[in-house]
Symmetry: C2
Subunit: 335 residues, 2 copies
C-alpha cells in the first residue's frame, strides 16, 4: 500500500510533515510512504533522523500552493505543485491515497480535478471527526459546499454512513440531520426538504438533531451543508481553546485553586487530549474516485500520523468501492 | 415602569416565575410587576412568601399555550392565553414590556401579532447574549427566521448595534458577519451578498467572523440567519453541559485528581457561572413596536430576574425608539 504525502502543505511543512511520516514509516513497515515536494528540503528534514526508513521515498515537485493562492486557479496553473503531483500519483495508480495538510481549498480542487467524482455523486463532502461526550462523531459536510440542495445532503448522509460503518466499525450508524428543532416541519427550506428525502433512502436516519445533541454524541453521522458544518467545526475548535483560557483564569483565583489545579493537571491533559483535533487525524474527502485525506492546516507530526492512518484504513475498507456500489444500487432502484 | 410577566410560560412555571418576580419586586421597588396567568395558582405561589410586595399585581388569564401547541395557530385561537394577554397589555399601553419564558415560537407569534413590526423592519430577530472569553456578545438572529434575505441580515446588524450601544454601553459596537472565511468572497450566496450590503450602512462593520472568533469574543454583535444562530446557541448550551461531564470524568481518574477537583471547586463554579445562560437573562425580540423579552424555557428565578432587568434596561434606553429612528433615516437617505 502506497500513500503519497504532500510534504509542502501546512503551517509546519515540511518539518512536521516529514517527522510524522518518518514515525509512521517506522511503526508501519508494511506501508510505502512517498513524500512529494522540494527534494532538497525534504532530504534535509530526513537528515535530522538517525536513519531514513527504507519505506520512505521522495517524489520531487518544484511548486507550492500557498494560502494566498486562489485554490482552483492555482491547481490549474501550478501543474508541478506538491498537492497536484501527489494527487496525480493516485490518479495514475502510482499511489493508493493522498494526504495533504495544505490549503483545504487547494487540496479539494486538486482531488476533484485529478481524481474526479464517483459516478452519480453530485458533490463530494469533507467528513470531519469531532469529539463528543460519548464516541467521536462524523460531521459532514465540514466545508466543501457552502450552498447545497436537499439531494446533496442525502448523498452526504449515505457516504458518511458507509464511512462510519466501514472505517469506524459502527454497526448501522445513526444519521442525524442538523436542524433547529426535532419536528420534521422545523428548519429552513433546505433541511425540511432534505428530511423527507432522507426518510426514503436505506440508511439509519434518526431524524433531526439540534446543536445541543452534537456534543452529547447522539448520532454517528451529523449531516449539514458545508456552511453550517464549517461554523460548527471552527466553533468547537475555538471553544476548546477558549475553555482552556477560561479554566486557567478560574483556577488561578486563590492559592487553594492553584494547588488544586496542579493536582488535576493529569485530568486536564486527558480532557484536552479528548478535544484535540489532531487526535482524530485527517478528514476524508468523500465521493471521489480515490482516497484523499485532508489534514488540518496547523497539523503537527501527530496529526500527520493520524491522517496517514485514516488513509490506510479508508483504503483497506474500500470506502470508494462501497460508495460507488451504493450509488449504483440507488440509481437502479430509481429506474 | 410597568412590566407584564407571563407567569404560566416555561418548564418551571409558575413557581420559578413568581419567585423571580418577587425577588425583583423587593430589590427594585420602583418597578410595577404584573403577573399574568391563573389567578389561583399565582396567589398560591405568592402565598409561599412572608409578604407579597405591594408593587406586584395579578392580571388573570384562563388559558395557557403549551410546547405542543402550534405557535401561530395557538396565539390566534387562545385569545386568553397568558402570553397573549401579557402582550396585549403592552399593546394597550397598560404595560411597558412583556417577559415570557414559555414556548419561544408562541412568545414571538404573540408579540408579532399584537405589537407589530417597526415601520420598515421586514423581519424582527431574537438577540441572545452569549458568553465569550472576553465580554458577552450579542448573537442575532438566534432563531426567529430560518430563511432570510441579505437585507434582513443588514437590519439585524443595525438593530443589534443599537441594542449593544444603548443597553450594554458598547461604544461603536463591532459587528461581525458569521461566515466560513475572512475574505469577502467566502461563504454561501446569502452572506456574500449580505457582506456587500453591510459595507454600505452606517454601522461599525468589521467583516466576516468565523466560528472560532465567536468564543474568542472578537466582536460585540455576531450577525447570522436564525438557522445558523440557533445551532450556534444550542451547541454552546450543549457544550457547557458536556464539558462539565467530560471534566468530571477527567477529574475522577485518581485520588490525586479527586483531591485537586475538590480544591478547584470554587474556580469551577466561577467557570460554570460564566457559561450559565441564566446569568445573561432574557433575549430581546428586536424590531417590534414594543419591548418583548424572551427567557429560556428552562428559566429559574435567577433567569427571570435577569430577563426583567433586561426589559427595564431596554425600556430605559428607548431601544424601540432608536431602531425606529435609524430605519427612518436610512429610508430617507435612500430616497
Amino acid at each position: 500500500m502506497k500513500i503519497a504525502i504532500d510534504a509542502m502543505g501546512g503551517d509546519y511543512a515540511p518539518t512536521e510533515i516529514v517527522k510524522g511520516t518518518v514515525e509512521t514509516a517506522i511503526a508501519a513497515p508494511e506501508l510505502e510512504l512517498v513524500l512529494v515536494g522540494d527534494k532538497e528540503r525534504i532530504e534535509k528534514e530526513l537528515g535530522m533522523f538517525s536513519t531514513k526508513p527504507a519505506n520512505i521515498s521522495i517524489f520531487p515537485s518544484s511548486e507550492v500552493i500557498g494560502m494566498g493562492d486562489h485554490p482552483a486557479t492555482a491547481v490549474r496553473q501550478k501543474k508541478d505543485a506538491s498537492v497536484v503531483v501527489a494527487n496525480r500519483l493516485v490518479k495514475e495508480g502510482k499511489a493508493d491515497a493522498v494526504v495533504s495538510a495544505g490549503s483545504t481549498g487547494a487540496a479539494m480542487a486538486a482531488s476533484l480535478l485529478l481524481l474526479g467524482r464517483v459516478k452519480g455523486i453530485k458533490r463530494p463532502a469533507i467528513g470531519t471527526m469531532i469529539p463528543t461526550q460519548k464516541a467521536p462523531m462524523l460531521l459532514l459536510d465540514a466545508g466543501a459546499n457552502a450552498d447545497v440542495k436537499p439531494e446533496n445532503l442525502v448523498q452526504f448522509a449515505q457516504m458518511g454512513s458507509i464511512y462510519m460503518e466501514k472505517v469506524w466499525q459502527r454497526k448501522n450508524p445513526r444519521v442525524g440531520l442538523v436542524n433547529i428543532g426535532e419536528e420534521e416541519t422545523k428548519g429552513n427550506e433546505l433541511v425540511i426538504a432534505a428530511h423527507q428525502a432522507l426518510k426514503k433512502v436505506t440508511i439509519n436516519f434518526c431524524g433531526n438533531i439540534e446543536g445541543r445533541d452534537i456534543p452529547a454524541g447522539e448520532v454517528d453521522v451529523a449531516v449539514c451543508d458545508g456552511f453550517v458544518g464549517n461554523i460548527i467545526l471552527k466553533l468547537l475548535e475555538g471553544l476548546a481553546k477558549s475553555f482552556g483560557v477560561m479554566l486557567k483564569d478560574a483556577f488561578t483565583t486563590s492559592w487553594r485553586t492553584k494547588l488544586g489545579a496542579a493536582l488535576v493537571l493529569p485530568g486536564l491533559r486527558l480532557f484536552k487530549q479528548k478535544l484535540d483535533p489532531s487526535e482524530y487525524g485527517g478528514a476524508p474527502l468523500l465521493g471521489l474516485k480515490g482516497v484523499s485525506i485532508i489534514s488540518h492546516g496547523s497539523s503537527n507530526a501527530k496529526a500527520i500520523k493520524n491522517a496517514i492512518r485514516v488513509a490506510k484504513e479508508t483504503i483497506e475498507a474500500d470506502v470508494v468501492g462501497k460508495i460507488t456500489e451504493r450509488i449504483r444500487e440507488e440509481k437502479q432502484c430509481e429506474e
